[in-house]
């Protein structure tokens, strides 16, 4: 008896859902038709950390110039599968363009290609995907200048002589791989010939806990190095914290790419004399300008194409569809208070 009742209930449910499945798309289509406004979606590696919030703000401000609506969202932790969910949602919601900073460059590319096949434009920023998955990539500042700046900041503090270690991020992070290999290449220049890179350390994730652990290991395993370059905001802050707690600030030189707000304490205490970054807000703004150019057909990713971005002037697409948003900024005690990000 119970089985009969349950069976009947199930059949009813199935019938209902079948009926709805036919009727609903029709209803859905009509209620959604009013969207003539262009909506875009920005997908960071994960939400909740300031650099991405700043990029969002920069892009959102610029979007008002074009009359676009910018939505922002992403997973709470680095997860390729979750990012793909957001990509799919953006396309299904009718967004015309996606900005993405990828958790795992290769893993999200197939989904992006599907999005592109569906008519959605993709602009990557901060952490690039495979070129097939996007039209252009906006980098905060040129990789060449980052590598050079890092070496200069370190070198100037160790007399351009001595060995050092790079505390990096995941081994598949495209930015890190590029910057680190440029550093290695630069070391053959006469200016840096007395500096030696001992090793590159890649923690398995981008968390502060891992960076701390690996910094501690570095100090133990390589006690004779002169300094450490940490080209991620998480790593350089964690490394500075380690040096400060172990009272080794005067023994080792630490530099890298850091967020001014995070690094303020360490600069004030003298633990870190110099570090660099670029303006994430500018990166977001330029990304929005690029998206506008892509949406209007001005730019299709070929080398040499260009677009303008309001007061920031003209931007040219370099080889590989890469656009540089601006210069690197070196921070030290002298100029730190001028920056509020």
């Amino acid at each position: 008896m119970r089985f009969q009742r349950t069976k009947r209930a199930t059949i009813a449910a199935l019938a209902l859902s079948a009926g709805l499945g036919i009727a609903l798309p029709a209803i859905g289509a009509s209620t959604a038709s009013a969207a003539s406004k262009v909506t875009l979606f920005m997908l960071p590696k994960f939400t909740g950390i300031p650099p991405f919030t700043q990029a969002d703000q920069g892009a959102a401000t610029q979007s008002m110039q074009y009359g676009y609506t910018l939505k922002y969202g992403g997973p709470t932790t680095a997860s390729a599968t979750d990012q793909v969910n957001f990509i799919n949602d953006a396309v299904a919601a009718g967004d015309k363009g996606i900005f993405i900073s990828a958790d795992n460059p290769a893993a999200v590319t197939p989904a992006l290609q599907r999005a592109e096949a569906h008519g959605v434009k993709v602009v990557s920023f901060d952490s690039d995907v495979l070129p097939a998955g996007r039209t252009v990539y906006i980098q905060g500042t040129s990789a060449v200048s980052i590598a050079m700046t890092e070496l200069n900041m370190l070198g100037s503090q160790i007399g351009y002589s001595g060995s050092f270690v790079i505390l990096s991020a995941q081994a598949t992070d495209t930015n890190q791989v590029q910057w680190n290999s440029l550093v290695k290449a630069d070391l053959s220049l006469p200016k840096y010939k007395n500096m030696k890179l001992v090793t590159i350390v890649n923690p398995p994730d981008d968390s502060a806990a891992s960076a701390t652990k690996y910094m501690q290991s570095i100090l133990q395993e390589y006690p004779t190095i002169k300094g450490v370059i940490a080209p991620t905001t998480v790593a350089v802050a964690a490394a500075a914290q380690v040096l400060q707690q172990q009272k080794l600030c005067s023994k080792y030189v630490l530099t890298g790419l850091g967020d001014p707000s995070q690094m303020k304490t360490y600069v004030t205490s003298g633990c870190v004399k110099q570090f660099a970054l670029w303006n994430f807000s500018t990166e977001g703004t330029v990304a929005m300008c690029a998206m506008h150019a892509v949406l209007t057909g001005t730019v299709s990713g070929k080398t040499g194409q260009s677009f303008t971005c309001g007061s920031r002037g003209k931007f040219v697409v370099a080889a590989g569809g890469v656009v540089t948003a601006g210069p690197a900024e070196v921070f030290s005690k002298a100029n730190l208070q001028d920056f509020t990000f």
Partner: protein, 343 residues
């Protein structure tokens, strides 16, 4: 099939009802959920999750748990990719070997838990680390990408001429097989009997150890299958991939009605729960809920579903929804098993 009635029980119907409610609300609030594109991409992106969940279900039904499934996935992905990329083995041969490895990983778990009588949570916590660690040893933090098109087609393309992804079709086939194994065979009934009361099952003549180890082997095998799907769908192999899918997979199993203590639940329930979670995520995403909103929503859903279910079963709502006191399903299972196995 003694357990046919359990396939269409109240829990599963309830899940379907919730799913319908979600879909209706989402559609009325501005479409997009039931579009062809969305269904295709959402289903494809949840294949790995569902595959993990299907494999984990039998183990949880016996009263154990296997959290090493993501470690196995990582290891099989790394192993298969490495064989193909570094040793020149054909991709499908490598995949078969990978599945073999996956089953071995599961059996290792089973032997440790069953023969040494260790708590499965602790053991699989350890093996999760161990298996993931070995995948790091194999790939050393680098990634292998651009797999042969045959694999990529399986993982991400549609059946020619239809909007249905091949991966989904394969998953449905796996689902059918597993449903039959769990609900239509003696082995399946033993799973429930053991989960309900292990000692009674032993006394009823069920080969408890073998069944439990086999459950772990199934878990490992499905984790391996999930790895193959992953390689095809995301076209990349890296140590530690999909580690974030563990909790969602377990959530799908529990939401699907499989009791954390073992002894109850159905595979179709897990499938419906997986679909529900996928649609919920998609609906929330379409309406602007970011990651944290979705995470919280899933947590609350879990509370209401499992908590509500527990309260109902414990009779708190008896006056509102009369429940006829009857033999519990596990008791049924044991007595069935006793009469067929022992006799």
């Amino acid at each position: 099939m003694a357990s046919a009635r359990h396939l269409l029980g109240r829990w599963e119907v309830g899940l379907v009802a919730i799913t319908i409610v979600i879909v209706v609300i989402a559609q009325l609030d501005g479409g997009g959920l039931i579009s062809s594109y969305n269904l295709q991409t959402t289903s494809l992106n949840n294949v790995v999750l569902l595959c993990l969940a299907f494999g984990a279900a039998p183990v949880i039904m016996t009263g154990d748990i296997d959290i090493s499934i993501v470690g196995t996935l990582s290891l099989v992905g790394a192993f298969t990719a490495s064989l193909w990329a570094h040793d020149g083995v054909g991709i499908w041969v490598a995949a078969i070997l990978g599945l073999l490895l996956a089953t071995i990983c599961g059996v290792v778990n089973g032997l440790l838990v069953v023969l040494l009588d260790l708590p499965s949570l602790a053991v699989t916590l350890g093996t999760m680390g161990a298996y993931t660690g070995v995948s790091f040893l194999i790939l050393k933090g680098s990634a292998i990408i651009e797999f042969p098109s045959s694999l990529v087609t399986l993982g991400s393309s549609n059946v020619t001429g239809t909007p249905v992804p091949i991966g989904v079709v394969v998953l449905v086939a796996l689902f059918a097989v597993l449903t039959y194994v769990v609900h239509g065979t003696q082995f399946g009934r033993s799973l429930f009997a053991i989960g309900g009361n292990r000692r009674a099952a032993l006394f009823a003549g069920i080969a408890v150890n073998q069944v439990r180890i086999t459950a772990f082997a199934i878990s490992g095998l499905f984790a391996g299958l999930a790895a193959i799907f992953y390689l095809g769908d995301y076209d990349t192999a890296q140590a530690g991939i999909a580690s974030d899918q563990l909790l969602p997979a377990i959530t799908a199993v529990i939401l699907g009605g499989v009791s954390a203590y073992g002894g109850t639940g159905t595979i179709p329930g897990v499938a419906i729960a997986g679909v529900l979670l996928a649609l919920l995520q998609a609906a929330l995403g379409l309406h602007g809920f970011s990651g944290e909103g979705q995470t919280i929503a899933v947590g609350i859903l879990l509370v209401f579903a499992v908590g509500g279910g527990s309260l109902i079963r414990s009779g708190t709502f008896r006056r509102l929804w009369p429940v006829k006191a009857s033999r519990s399903s596990s008791a049924n299972a044991v007595i069935d098993a006793a009469s067929t196995g022992g006799g």
